[in-house]
Subunit: 155 residues, 2 copies
DNA sequence: GGCTATCGTTCTGAAATAGAACTGTCAAAC
DNA sequence: GTTTGACAGTTCTATTTCAGAACGATAGCC
């Protein structure tokens, strides 16, 4: 399956995977949420090849997840900054971080701790139902075909 | 960077990416949450090559995300079923589905709708703070180095 | 001029993926 | 008792993608 084909599937997961479903893109987004913004900074902290970094940044800009903003006129230099669409990926990243904290940790403990400024406490991200506020579990969710469904695929 | 190296990074996101950071693995997990369990069923619904499917299933079993359970003695046949570790990936999948619903939709509407059996309503997944219950936004979170941090990388 | 910083592009070999065919086991049908 | 079909993989080759390193462009500073 090609990446472009994924984007056309009648499945929101496929479409999201088409955008962030490769390791470098996810790692680049992690850096974005850690306030990294410049080409050299991404490159040196990720050890990604410059070629791939350039390509991924272009893709993220094209998709409206990052904005390319000049911060220096001469020579022309740009920063890559998350758009609202990009900021909305926060739950995806945090869900992955949390799963890694729980299931892929080592004896030394968590690499990073997250503090919620609103309440001042260290927290875990929890996924809840928008309607009743209860914690979500796969077995309590029933899936229906929606209006955008056409073929056999789903999620 | 090699996949194995990713797993060793002092970063929970890297470690999670090492496991689910490729498109086929994510799509296979989607199918698992939709109750798909057998080799042929994965293959025909995903149009994945048999070779890759075989390899990915092995990897997921090795990592303890799926269990390979015999359902037929002669001939030996197996099903692939989510373990607790696998079920815990539900927030990751749902966060991606929700982002796709919001940002990658088309005019026809959502491909799938999710009903919460507990409250009986169609819902969206929402990520909240485990301590105060408020909705999480990237800008309200402050990141600290944790005990498992060593070098430059983080998330 | 020579040095450094920043942001890329270009090149070549190595690795992963796609696509199709093949293997093996067993049950049921003819 | 031979054929067909379902299931769960493995093997093979061509194509695509990625890694690693070098190269280019632009400008500021000494």
């Amino acid at each position: 399956m090609k990446w472009d084909a994924l984007e056309e599937e009648p499945c929101s997961l496929s479409r999201t995977v088409a955008v962030v479903g490769d390791r470098w893109t996810l790692l680049i987004l992690r850096e974005c949420f850690l306030r990294v913004r410049r080409f050299e900074a991404f490159q040196s902290s990720l050890q990604i090849t410059r070629h791939l970094l350039s390509e991924r940044l272009k893709k993220l800009v094209r998709l409206g997840i990052l904005r390319r903003v000049p911060y220096c006129e001469a020579p022309k230099r740009y920063e890559y900054i998350l758009t609202q669409k990009g900021l909305d990926l926060y739950p995806v990243i945090m869900a992955m971080v949390h799963w890694g904290d729980i299931h892929m940790g080592d004896e030394r403990g968590r690499p990073l701790l997250h503090e919620h400024k609103n309440c001042g406490k260290l927290f875990n991200p929890v996924m809840v139902c928008s309607e009743c506020g209860e914690v979500l579990h796969a077995k309590q969710v029933h899936v229906h075909a929606g209006p955008g469904r056409r073929g056999a695929d789903a999620a």
